[in-house]
Structures are given as C-alpha cells and as structure tokens.
C-alpha cells in the first residue's frame, strides 16, 4: 500500500530547479529582483536586513529608524551572510544559497507531508471498507506533485532569487504542517512558534495544527463514517457480530480526538516560545528590550505604517484613506482574517490540512505586506489537494488570470514609477485584480 511511487524524473526536476535558481543567482546585480515591490516587502527585504545588521554592527539598535522590522534571530542568521563576500562571486551568493536550501527543504517537507496525507487517505478509505477502490484507483503521488509545483512555481523562484526572507517563513510554516501531519508535536510546535515569530500571521495555523494532531491527517467527513456505519449495521444485521464490533472499533479510532499529542504540542509551544523570547530579549537587551521589539515587528505589521507599493491593496488604501478612519479600517481588515477562522474551522474540521491551506491562502491575501512568496506557499500546497483540483471550476480562467496579473503588474509599476507616464491607479488596478482572483480562487473550493 505504501509503496513509493515517485513522479518519473522527480529528482531530476528537483535538481533542475536548484540549478535554475543558481543560474539566476549568478546574474549580475541579482536581476534587480531584490528591490522589486512584488518580491521584497518592508518585512522580507534583504536590503533592509543588511541595513539592520549594519546598524547592529555599528552598535546602534537594529530597530532604530524604520528600516528593519524582522526578527532578531533572522538578523543573527542571515546578517553575517549579507556582508561576507567570496572573491569573484556575486555579493549575494551566500544568502542566495541559504534561500535555495530553504526552498528545497520546504519542498521535501511538502513532499513528505503529502505522503503522510496519502497514507492517511488510503487508511481512511480502508476503514470505510473501500479497499478495492483505494487499490484500484490510480493514485497520483500528490506530495511529489506539490513539491515540484512549489519548486517550479515562478513566484517561488522569483522570491528565492530576489532574496526575500519569505522563503524561510514558508519553510517554518511547512515544517509546522509536516510536524503536525506526522504527529511530531515538538517539530510542529517549533515550526509554528518560529513562523509566528517571523511573520505573525501563521499564528492562526494553531487551529489546524491542533486539529491535525488531534484527529490525524485529512479524512473524509465523520458523517461518512456514521453513514457507513449505519449502512453496515443495517446491512449486516444478519451477519456475525464480529464484523460489527470491528467496524465500531474502527469508527472509534477514526473519530476520537486524542488529547495527548495536543497537550504535548501546547507544552512544546510554551517551551519553544519562551526559548525564542529569551533569545530575543538577550539580543535586544541594550536596545529597549522586548517591548521595543514587539512594537517594531508586530506593531509595524499591524499598523501598516509603510505605504510603499506591493501586490496587496492595503498600501494604497491607507495612503488614500482619511486619517481619522485609519484605526477603524485597520481593525476591520485584520478582523476580516480572524472572523473567518471559526466558521472555517467548524466546517473543515475533518480535514485540517485543507483548513491550513485555506488559512494560509486567506492570510496571504489579507496580510498587510503581501509578496509573491506568500502566494508561492499556498500555490505549492495546492498540489497536495490534487483531487480538489479536478473538481475545480474555472481553473483555466484562474490560471490565465494569475499569469496575466503577474505580467501586467510589473508593466504598470514600470509605467508609474520609472517612466512617470502611468498613474498609481493603474498599478492599484492590477493589485485589485490580483485580490479578486485570489478571492475567486478561494471561492472555487
């Protein structure tokens, strides 16, 4: 049942993507990707990170001024790499290598999570008594498929070559999901804590992660089990009691919410977060402590102070909205993310992985500084649910929409910023269209 059936040439494709990235990294001046608004937001820009590191080195707080808003841990990890040079190589090569590795690791994790999902799927099918179905139907290796989609997605490549730190955030999110899928509570906790620490929005993933740990990976709705159970009971009323017992036991196994991994997850979360907080407080001790850190990172994310253009719509909205409405709209927009959490969790609690995917898509659409790196993550995860892809309506329309927007947006940006002939509205229009497509995309599930 669990035989490894890889997509043909899987490893070739993986290596190919790495080589492709390296070739792109070797281009001089990094193709100017690292300063593209689509790639580097104020949170993920490598230049800002380098500035923060430089400030730190010249014994000024890295959060002095409003340049750097990322995590101090990222600063210690990537900071030295922004300064190190190898003779005769591009300046950013070392950083680039880190991001390439992060990408490949997250792809591998997606692949592994996909396998876990597949196993769970077939076992649940078995439980339903559809052994024949699971054996007969041609199984697409969705994990491999998703990993390749993630690796070869132009958005991922652009984000990686543009040295956006979103690659590392994505890695942490995927790590958390993988940990939850394979019921490794410490790993899931670590991934979740790190992802939350890095970009705050993955905090909402705690719900799917707990569900994953509690119920196990995606399964058909429990109603189906009930249904099947009744059927079986109804059908096998005359049969021997053994099979009935067995079915009931199986049902119990499938339905029970196991508290032990969840509790251990929460404990580990506590542990990891206190660990990270201690590390951070050591780092920012001389510069105003944790309060300053939170103000500069989470506060910056939540209050949307930087109005430089990105692929989202909020920057232009907050550049134009009247000041006295600002706070109201900040609450509304962030409330929008939180509002949908509970209904979606109720609706999709039998499929926590899919729930996580929907959450990621929502947050990457509504977050304050979205970049293509965020889209890359949910488009990659989409591959895990290849079955839903089959049912998806308007898939061609959506695909062409994505392609169109990602081609038009740089053109409009160029017209507005560089030529001075266009207007901010043109660029904003592409951002709006992008948001619409994302909505449509979400809606189509």
């Amino acid at each position: 049942m669990t035989k490894k059936k890889k997509v043909p040439w899987f490893w070739t494709w993986v290596i190919g993507s790495v080589v492709f990235r390296l070739i792109l990294l070797y281009f001089p001046k990094n193709l100017n990707l690292s300063s593209r608004p689509e790639v580097s937001t104020p949170l993920t820009s490598i230049r800002r990170l380098a500035e923060g590191y430089w400030l730190k080195q010249s014994s000024v707080s890295p959060y002095a001024g409003s340049m750097y808003h990322g995590s101090p841990l990222l600063l210690t990890l990537l900071g030295p790499l922004t300064v190190k040079r190898i003779e005769g190589q591009p300046d950013h090569l070392l950083c680039g290598l880190v991001f390439v590795i992060a990408d490949v690791v997250s792809a591998m994790l997606i692949c592994a999570a996909g396998e876990k999902l597949q196993v769970a799927y077939s076992s649940s099918l078995q439980l339903l008594g559809l052994r024949d179905l699971s054996e007969n139907s041609e199984r697409l290796p969705s994990g491999d498929f998703a990993a390749l989609v993630y690796l070869w997605n132009p958005f991922t490549i652009v984000a990686c070559v543009g040295l956006s730190t979103s690659a590392i955030e994505n890695l942490m999110v995927v790590l958390s999901l993988y940990g939850a899928c394979s019921r490794l509570a410490p790993l899931a906790a670590f991934g979740w804590v790190m992802a939350t620490h890095l970009s705050l929005y993955p905090a909402i993933l705690i719900i799917p992660v707990i569900l994953l740990l509690g119920y196990g990976p995606d399964a058909p709705p429990r109603k189906l089990f009930c249904q099947k159970n009744r059927l079986e009971v109804g059908n096998s009323s005359s049969s021997d009691s053994y099979s009935e017992e067995k079915a009931k036991n199986q049902l119990k196994v499938a339905n029970v919410f196991s508290w032990r991994p969840v509790v251990s997850f929460l404990l580990w979360t506590l542990l990891w977060s206190s660990y990270i907080l201690v590390l951070c407080s050591i780092y920012v001790q001389q510069y105003g402590g944790l309060q300053e850190l939170f103000k500069r990172t989470y506060g910056f994310i939540l209050t949307i102070q930087d109005l430089s253009p990105n692929i989202g719509v909020l920057w232009y909205f907050f550049a134009e909205v009247f000041d006295f409405f600002r706070n109201f709209f900040l609450i509304v927009f962030h409330g929008n993310i939180l509002l949908m959490l509970a209904p979606l969790a109720l609706r999709l609690n039998h499929r926590p992985c899919f729930l996580a995917f929907v959450y990621i898509a929502i947050s990457s659409m509504l977050k304050s500084y979205p970049s293509v790196g965020d889209s890359a993550l949910y488009l990659g995860l989409l591959g895990l649910f290849a079955y839903e892809l089959k049912d998806m309506q308007f898939s061609f329309f959506l695909l062409s929409g994505y392609v169109g927007v990602s081609l038009l947006s740089p053109v409009m940006h160029n017209l507005w910023i560089w030529r001075g002939t266009g207007n901010a509205n043109f660029y904003f229009a592409t951002a709006i269209t992008y948001a619409c497509f994302q909505v449509r995309y979400l809606y189509s599930f």
Partner: protein, 673 residues
Amino acid sequence: MQPMALPPKATFPLSLLLLLPLLLLSLVLATSTQQEEFSEELLLKPLPDRKILAHFHFQNEAPLDADSFARHHHLFPKSISQLVQKFHIKAMELSFTQGRWNYERWGGFDPISSHNAKPPGVELWAVFDVPPHQVDASWKNLTHSLSGLFCASINFLESSTTYSAPEWTFQSALGSLRYGTLPREAVCTENLTPWLKLLPCRDKAGLSSLMDRPSIYRSFYHSQQLHLTMSSAASDGSRSGIILQQTLTVVLQPDDQNADMNHVSKAKVQPSWSLSSIFGRKISGRCVLAKLSNVYLHADRGLVAQLENLHKNTTQFANNDTGPEDYRVNSGFKLSVTPKRMHTELGKGSSILYEYPIKDYKDTEQFDLGLSWEHPIVWSSPHAPFYASRFLMGSGNERGAIAISLKSTEMTQGLVTNNIEERCKLQVNVLQVVPWYVKVYYHTLQLLVDERPRVLTDFVERMRVLPSEDKVSPGMMELVLQFPCEMKSAVLSIEFDKGFLHIDEYPPDANQGFDIPSAIISFPDLNAGLQFYDKSQSKSPLLSKLQEKSPVLSYTEVLLVPLTTPDFSMPYNVITITCTVFALYFGSLLNVLRRRVGEEERLLKNKDASKAVFLRRILNKLSAKLRGRPLESTSSPSSSSSSSSSSSFVSPKLILRVLLVAGIAIAWQYYSQ
C-alpha cells in the same frame, strides 16, 4: 464707580511726573555700570567675477540681568532679550537666504564665506541652557516665537521630522543643540522689515539707510542673519551679557560705468562702482545711537597679490596717490574717498582692509565711496581645501543615491608643499540630514578616493548615524574623515529608497519634488579668520569677528528629489473599490460556507458520486456474497435511508450554524457602531 475712580487717575500722571527725574536718574545709574552698546559697520569687497559683496554688520550688546523681564532696554531689542530669557538660549543663529553662495568664484576660505554663506531658505540652530529632556520643548517654543517675530514659517521646524541634533559640526554643545532648515522658504521684504525693526535706527539713519529694497532683492545672493551669543565675563566665565549680531550679506552686480569714461577701453576691466550706483543711495550720516559706525573696503589676498604684480610690471605708470601711504595697491584702482586707516593682514600676500569712519562726515556731506578700476585685473578668491558639491544619481521614482563629491583646490596643493616631510592629513567633517521619506541605506555608504573604491574604515575616523524613523525623525549622518592632502578627489555615495507618503502629507505642489537640505562640510583644522596687525586699537566688532578663529565651513547644494505621488483626485474610489473587494471576499466565503451546509446531501452525493457507485457496488457484492444471491432492491432503501439519516443529522447543525453566523453578524454590527 466712575467718580470714585477719578482721583487716582488724576493723581497718577502727577506722581509720575514727579517721579520721572528720579526714575531717569536711577536708570542712568543702573546702566552706567553696564552699557548697552550698538555698532554698525559695512564691509565692501570686490569679487573676482565683477560683483561686489556688501556685508552689513550690526552688533548690539546688552548686559544680562536676572530680572530682565522688567528691564528697560535703551538699544537692545526687548523681544530678543525676552526670547533669550524665556527659552534659556545659549547661542542661536537664524538665517534667511536667497540664492546660492558661489564658492568657486566668491571664495570659501574667509570669515564671510564661512559665517555668512548659508543654504537657501531658512536655517536655524540654537543651543539651550536647559536639562536635556526640555531641549525639544524649548526648541518648539522658540520656533513659534521666531516665526511670529520674523513673519516666516519657521514654525514648520517645530515638527520632529525637520530638526536634528548634530554633535560635531557646530559647537560641541552636547545634546543641547538643535539644527533645522527649511530649504523651500521664500525670503522677501516681509522678513527684512522685522529684522530691521530690531535695529535702534531701523533703516531711517546710518548704514542701514542704504538698504534699498529693490537693489537688495535684485542681488545674486542675499542672506540676512541673526546671531545670538552670550558674552562671558573674563573673570569667572559666567554669562554677563547678550551679544546680538545682525548681518546682511548681499552680492550685487554693479552697473558698468566704464562705458562712458573709457580712458582704458578694455572690456576686461572690472566695472567701477560707488555706493550710490549699487544701492541707489548715499550714506547721509551715522546712526547717532551707534557707538561705532564704519565702512570698510576689503581687498583679499588674491587681489593684493595681483596688484603687487601689476605694480612690478608697470613701474613707469604714473600713480596718482590717493591713498595715504600705500601707493602700490592704488596703482590698480582709484578710490573716491581717502581711507582713514589701513589694516594689513599678517604674512606675505595678505589682504588689506581700508577703514572709513562715518563719524568724520557731517550731516551735510554725504559719504559715497566709489571705486574705479584702472587696469584689468584677474584674480581669484581664496578657496577652501575642497570644493564640495552634491548630486543625485539614478533615475525613476523608486530609488536613487546621494553623492557628495570633494574636489581638491589649489589650497590643498599649498598644504602638500608646505608639509612635505610629514604625512599631511586633512580632517573633513560631513553632516548630512535627510528627511524621513528619503530612506537611506547606511550600509551602502561607499567612498571613492581618486576614482578608486576604497575601504571606508581607512578614512572614516568617527561616524555617527541616526537612522530616520517614519514620520518621527529625520535621518542624520555625521562623518569625521581624514584625507591625505595629496588626494585629488573623493566621492561619498549612499543609496536610498524613496518613500511613499500619505495623501495628506504631500505639499500642494507635490510634483515639484522634495528638498533634501544642504550637507555641511567643515574643515575644523583650518582657521578661516584673518589676522590684522593693529589688534589693540581697533575695537570694532566686525574686525574682531573677522579675526575670530573659526573653522572653514561650506554648504552643498540643496537637492530636489521627485517623489512618486498617488492619485490625489480619487480617494473615495480607492476606498470604495477596496472595500468592495473585501466585501466580495467576505460575502463569497460566507456564501460557500453557508451553501455547503444547505446542500449537504447533494454535495456529499456529488463528491462521492464516484465513491457512491463503488459503495453501492461493493455493498451489493457484499450482500450478494452474504446472502448468496444478487439483490437489486436493497440498494434503493439503503440509499433512501442514508439520505434521510443524513438530512436528519444535518438539520440541528444547520440551525446551529445559522445561529452562529447571525451572532457574529450582530456582534459585528454592535462593534462597528
């Protein structure tokens, strides 16, 4: 009530009349110990490019008393002394400037260019004598007071995004100095009139009567300044008085008078001028309140050297000796009035200062100094060691780079030849303040020395960086650089991203661009002061100012950075469209959630259409196996039972979910109210 109030009213003037002599006496007694002094001086200087520099210098001194709110001032402007008292100002300088000082032609290595060449617009710095946490508050109050006093928008300097606290460029006043500029400020007569009001004679008498508005504002460069310092008593160093220096520096182009009197018919001869020809007026007597009233004519080192050369070459030329002693100099030009005294600078090839006290001229006799050139003379003013200029690099509205270039002048070559034995180093201080919307990446600071990229740490001795904070504070960079004297050129460049502002933060003419204030380049090792021989007898404030030891200072150009603008016309459209997108998201997601609940059965059926077929087949098989015979009829009741069971299963949940959504909606409604 009215009749009751009459007797005191009637008696008050009487008593006042009685007391008046007493009061006056007491005042005289009080002021006899510490005199208020006022002096007015004018320095004229021919510039190499056929222009004239006129530098008015008014100095007002007043003793400082503890209770000077109640004090009466004879000469000193009360508003200024109140300002000093109220805000505890230790030193202050306010300048209004129009035009740019041309360092290349008008010189950069003399006291006037170091003190009076200012960046365009308004520049203000002040040192306060208050605890550090009150400095900002004092600064804000001061800007408002000055704004009212000078009819200028100095109050814009109140915002913390416009001022900074440099430490090395000006006096070393730790933490209590604030510096701000407004490059866009237009300077006009409405700023000059309140400035003149501070003078005891205003512009009614004395040297200030020369200030004919049209000729002053026609000038190439015009800078009016107010400089406040505390004079300290020699014994204990405590503050004993306020010194207010008001200066007006004007660079004018005289009308060419050579055309009609062309006995030397050469176009190259500098234009001759007189006070009446450049100002349109003559000095008709001094301000009687002034202790000192002098006019000086300054011939700088380059000019004197050329005159000496000229004299050597043309010894046969008949010199008409108008000057009292120095015939050499006057072989080049002729002065209409004989100078009373002459000050010569120490050393060889030194500058000469002619002095004309106005006191000597009666009211009937008007003083009109004129200078007519007899020979074409080409000279150059002394330069600072480096010409500093600044420019923007890059295109587009996303990012760019600021470059400050320093080019060595003949002055540094002189330094090299002087100290050939030891390794000569020249210290250069750079102060660069950038507004917050120019987001400077300080780690991209690069230094090119003699057109080769060099490691920054080899040249930077100290560095102080205060990065800008959005909408809170400007970025400031102070550098102390040590350059070898033989260096030809150096370029400092630093990259920046252009910020995006809120729609309200753009000025009305947003597409004109935003100004980056001038960078200040100073050479603290060099002394801009001039040393004259007769120090003892001259008590002139202007002369002592010229002789004051001070670093050489120069300002770079103001940069104009175009920033991207959003669309100003349609904020409502943006708001409504964005909200529509969010509504679309919210509505459609809600719809999906709700509809799935409602269509549970059909959806389940759809979803498991394939599975159901299998299910049925398997069930059939199963039952067939169990019962040993094929039975089709079982499938229909089973499916019906399943559907009924699922529908009955769903309905309470459906209600629950609808309730939940309604609850959320109510909560939302309540909240948004």
